[in-house]
Amino acid sequence: MAKEAQSEIQNPIIRVRDITVQFGATRVLDGLNLDVKRGEILGFVGPSGAGKSVLTRTIIGLVPKVAGSIEVFGVDLDSSNTSQRRNVERRWGVLFQQGALFSSLTVRQNIQFPMREYLRVSQRLMDEITMAKLTMVGLKPEVAERFPSELSGGMIKRVALARALSLDPDLVFLDEPTSGLDPIGAGDFDELVRTLQRTLGLTVFMVTHDLDSLYTACDRIAVLGNGKIIAAGSIADMQASQHPWLRQYFHGKRARAVMG
């Protein structure tokens, strides 16, 4: 028991090996390897259409892969049985690009949905935890009774994050969390992710285009190109890299503006 726990701490939380994903004749991911360490915020960048969302969706199990293996929390998702898989799914939360809130449920019901399914707790506790989650993501309690169509873009992202966090997961996937937010809102969101990672001990897998997020929120950055990880490391490593796309990305006009 103790030995297992020990190995779970040392091993990467996500271990992706030789993943290949193909849509028709186009090969999107080609023998990709990636490790995500426990407790880090990994920023995942790459040109549009490079397959960032595809990789995320492949890890979560929404896109079938042609070859390769994926281990999350030390469980190989291909060879796992249903209950093991449920167990893994309970321990991760996903924030989709468009929020993907259930449109016919209120914010409160959206956040309570996973709790209702997985935990047997009283309505009172669920309501209180919902308020706690809303406070954590920086929303007012009044929002709880609104429907998703009555929320602004930034609020949808926050509610979606609150729902992703509703079971206190160990790992969250964020697909472009700051896209469509104003710079101040995006900055707040980065700060929020940082705070939550600190308080809850989360591991965060964040697909992003936002240079500010990379600088302020991420511990490590992985870059996707030609279906492979072309570089992974700290922001300093990225700036030092000689790869043409990376040079353009981190030394372009916008990057200089961010760095001041």
């Binding site: 028991m1 103790a2 726990a5 259930f102 449109s103 016919s104 409160r108 709790m115 935990l119 047997r120 707790v121 009283s122 506790l125 309501d127 209180e128 935890i129 308020m131 706690a132 989650k133 406070t135 954590m136 309690p141 709880a144 009774e145 429907f147 998703p148 169509s149 009555e150 966090l165 079971l167 206190d168 705070t195 600190r198 308080t199 809850l200 001990g201």
Partner: protein, 377 residues
């Protein structure tokens, strides 16, 4: 790693000390909640209250909140309960939870008799609004139709042809199959009952009149309302949900012209064609049954059919078709454009579209029956 959580009381003279141990996480939430509820009753009036959490192995939001809840309910008057032995890892989580204001959630939707009566009242009052909405849409479509007549270049031929394919061409197999079967059933029932009077041959009269005047067009209209009316509502509704219709508007396009008119036109052209095909299939099916089951050979069937029906019967039937198509199309488009942001709303309006479409088709059929009877057709 995970051990059962416990909450124990340690007597310390005048102070109340509670010691929390084990795993305080979501998976143990029911147990934790019960323990906390029990501990809340311990209150009394001690001088100082401590909750010792130094032995807690793992803490998440659920556990942290329950400890916070306990702290709040034990605090009374000037004596504030303290959390002791908090490790650095979890202190920020506990701080975070402390900021939460536990506002009781007000449940608003309770089912009462007055509430139900109110809903019925609102639904009845809404009927007027529905009719007004339909007339509004009819006016809008006609206005756009005249505008397109004056400026034929703004007519969307491609879109209309596309919808014709969806609504007419692709509907042919199912419409022909169902009307064929209905024709068979009418003929079989007719022969079965008419035989007692030795009036077998009159089944041809019944079949001809019934199919051409009523069943052909009515049945096809109902099927089209279910098949295409619902599709129109769902298409327009999901476009509304994704703000595509607003996007069209901001680009200076009229959604009625771009989306509604081609659909309406396709339906108005399609329904007479489908009604004609349906009537022919029903007659064929009826003739087949009359021959195989009733012993009326095809030659006798056709001779009798020529005597029994006139072109009037056919005209009465086919004239109704475009009008019914217009009703179905207008209902479907009004409902589609009324969809709000949620998936539930899309479902409600699609249902409403089919139900109202079929209802208005039958009402129109009744109105036509009165009209044709009074002009003697």
């Amino acid at each position: 790693m995970s051990s059962d959580p416990k909450l124990e009381r340690i007597a310390k003279g005048n102070a109340l000390a509670l010691c929390a141990t084990g795993t305080w996480t979501a998976s143990f939430a029911p147990v934790l909640e019960r323990m906390v509820a029990d501990a809340e009753k311990l209150a009394g009036s001690p001088q100082s209250i401590f909750i010792d959490v130094s032995e807690v192995a793992k803490l998440d939001t659920f556990g942290a909140w329950l400890i916070e809840r306990l702290r709040r309910s034990l605090t009374h008057g000037a004596v504030e309960a303290q959390i002791a032995g908090l490790s650095a890892n979890y202190s920020s989580l506990v701080d975070e939870v402390r900021r939460v204001r536990a506002t009781p959630v007000v449940e608003t939707s309770t089912v009462t008799i007055t509430g139900m009566l109110e809903q019925i009242g609102r639904a009845v009052a809404g009927v007027g609004g529905t009719v007004a909405g339909l007339i509004d849409m009819l006016g809008a479509v006609l206005a756009v139709g005249f505008r397109v007549l004056i400026h034929p270049r703004s007519f969307r031929l491609t879109s209309t042809v596309h919808h014709m394919e969806q609504v007419c061409w692709r509907a042919v197999p199912i419409i022909v199959l169902i009307t064929f079967l209905i024709g068979c059933i009418i003929a079989q029932q007719g022969i079965f009952h008419f035989r007692r009077f030795g009036a077998d041959i009159f089944v041809v009269d019944m079949l001809g009149v019934l199919v051409l005047r009523e069943i052909g067009v009515l049945l096809v209209a109902i099927m089209v309302a279910g098949r295409s009316g619902s599709a129109y509502t769902a298409e327009l509704g999901s476009m509304k949900m994704r703000e595509e219709i607003d996007a069209l508007r901001t680009m200076g396009f009229d959604p009625i012209e771009v989306l509604v008119l081609p659909r309406m036109l396709a339906l108005v052209l399609a329904l007479p064609i489908l009604a004609f095909l349906g009537a022919m299939a029903a007659l064929y099916g009826g003739g087949l049954v009359a021959w195989l089951y009733g012993g009326v050979d095809p030659e006798a069937f056709l001779l009798r059919l020529r005597d029994a029906i006139s072109i009037d019967h056919f005209i009465v039937g086919i004239v109704k078709a475009p009008v019914m198509a217009a009703v179905i199309g207008i209902v479907a488009c009004v409902e589609g454009l009324a969809v709000q942001g949620s998936a539930e709303s899309l479902g409600q309006h699609t249902t409403a579209s089919v139900v109202k479409g079929i209802f208005f088709v039958i009402v129109m059929d009744g109105v036509f029956a009165i009209f044709f009877a009074s002009i003697g057709m």
